[in-house]
Symmetry: C2
Subunit: 343 residues, 2 copies
Amino acid sequence: MRIVLDAMGSDTCPDPEVEASIEAARLFGEEIILVGPENQLKSLLKAQGGDNSLVRVVNAPDIISMEDKGLKLALKAKRKGSQTSMAIGMDLVKNGEADAFVTAGNTGGALATAFYRLGTISGVERPALTGLFPVKGGQCVVADIGANPECKPINLLQFAIMGSVYAEKVRGVHQPRVGLVSNGEEAGKGNQLVKETYPLLATSGLNFIGNVEGKELFGGEADVVVTDGFTGNVLLKSSEAVAKLITDILKQELSSSLRTKVGALLAKPAFAEIRRMMDPGEIGAAPMLGINGLIFVGHGRSDARALVSAVRTARQAIEADLLMAIQSAIQERLSQTRIQEVT
Amino acid sequence: MRIVLDAMGSDTCPDPEVEASIEAARLFGEEIILVGPENQLKSLLKAQGGDNSLVRVVNAPDIISMEDKGLKLALKAKRKGSQTSMAIGMDLVKNGEADAFVTAGNTGGALATAFYRLGTISGVERPALTGLFPVKGGQCVVADIGANPECKPINLLQFAIMGSVYAEKVRGVHQPRVGLVSNGEEAGKGNQLVKETYPLLATSGLNFIGNVEGKELFGGEADVVVTDGFTGNVLLKSSEAVAKLITDILKQELSSSLRTKVGALLAKPAFAEIRRMMDPGEIGAAPMLGINGLIFVGHGRSDARALVSAVRTARQAIEADLLMAIQSAIQERLSQTRIQEVT
């Protein structure tokens, strides 16, 4: 198994990536391919006493930064000779020299690079960005969180099929419960897209639990939740912002007097669970579903521990042959649709 | 000034409504018209020692409950002889016998009743449900939070005009900052609706600050935020669910050991701000913008204090002649559009 780690992804790269590559190679006994500026990475590896036999450096002098967007980003993603760590890293996957690619970098850049260089799985109209949302009692796979601001019902059905396979094969959830984000739990509620998607999901053979609102999503009642990329992105960003607002106010108020400071010190263990839920290290990384290759994107705030956890997820996906499982599920669905069209 | 209070709105009605009617009449010196089952309300008023000179009871034997939906709800809302507290209460506003109507009941029921009985302001295509979101340093007016799952750009422009007038006249915000919910702050980001709405807002003469994400919304960077009713509803429900998840976990963890219990006791003052933010009593009620009458809807969880606060908001709206101000702003915009069409 060979896993590529983008050395130039996280907010404080490449230090956490270098540390994570050594740790992951040691922990999993797999080859980790660190892609980025060769000289810098090699000297960092040496300084950290890395075991070169399992960490291999592949040179990539260019990067996609958070500032890259529009045409510039598209060119960096698409160009044949692109020297970015994402382009070179994903080309390794494309050419069969590696089994998966992990990055904590610019999500839009990773999506564009993956889309242009690896393409989509046969039969998949649009790839989805997925997010792992911390919910009561665990996590929920949400797709799409931003790749496709406009979606058709068939896209959401495919996100549901792919999300289910992912939840089952990689996250070990038996018969994942699939929900459809709507403005009301009742069937019949929703905008046009939701109303047209509902019957597709209801007859899909998936474990469809119907429309879900925030209550069901964050209450842990679904394992996979699908929505268009516009709504999913608003959902993601607003959830993060609400969590930040509450914890910021709490921090501020807890440090406002001696009494509350002492209280906070005593109550400290109680805050650990909240911190754990909001910790990128617990989430690891989420897959780009529908891309013809295993691509995982972690949070920009990832530290070495979070990156090791991201590599672990990628490893589980390789082990479960996630790509093949998704390809089969999509093909099966396509042939069912053809049978329905014939009969 | 005469303000109608729906006695059959809140989750624990009519006790909080009866208490609030007495308190509001006393506090504001205005006539409060309590609408609901006459005998029950009169005996409750008597038991609470209410001053009948300022609290008047108008009989309404029927109610719209949380279970009413679909055709049944539509009939209760529309029928000429409808005896629900909402229908009778809003008819009082329509016939000029009252200046505003306040309810903590079924939002969909209130919207349908208002739409059928009062209609919309001339020139307004669709009314909006508004929510007051607790954000850093205050509150943000969000419209639409659920009346219109599908919107056109002109609808969002009108929500922005009406929301601005409301923020300025009733909430006392000078030149309210107006944001457009999108999946990215940059201009050009968004789904089709957002992309088409952006230029309308940019040339509207409103204080448009561009696209906003959760960060800007909950960071308190906008006073009014517009979106379609589907996205707005998802935003509302998910924010509430995240806040509930965090506070539930915190409560549970704080009571998990003696040490954390003592800590929680000492830190108690620090939790007050969070509780205050999530308290319906702080929010009061939000207006239905675009309805041809002053209709305010509060949270179902409202207690007497929250209802008094809702009546206060209604009173401020009457005082500021909100309806007339919105009518003027819409007319002004319509004539500007006509001028643009001519030139």
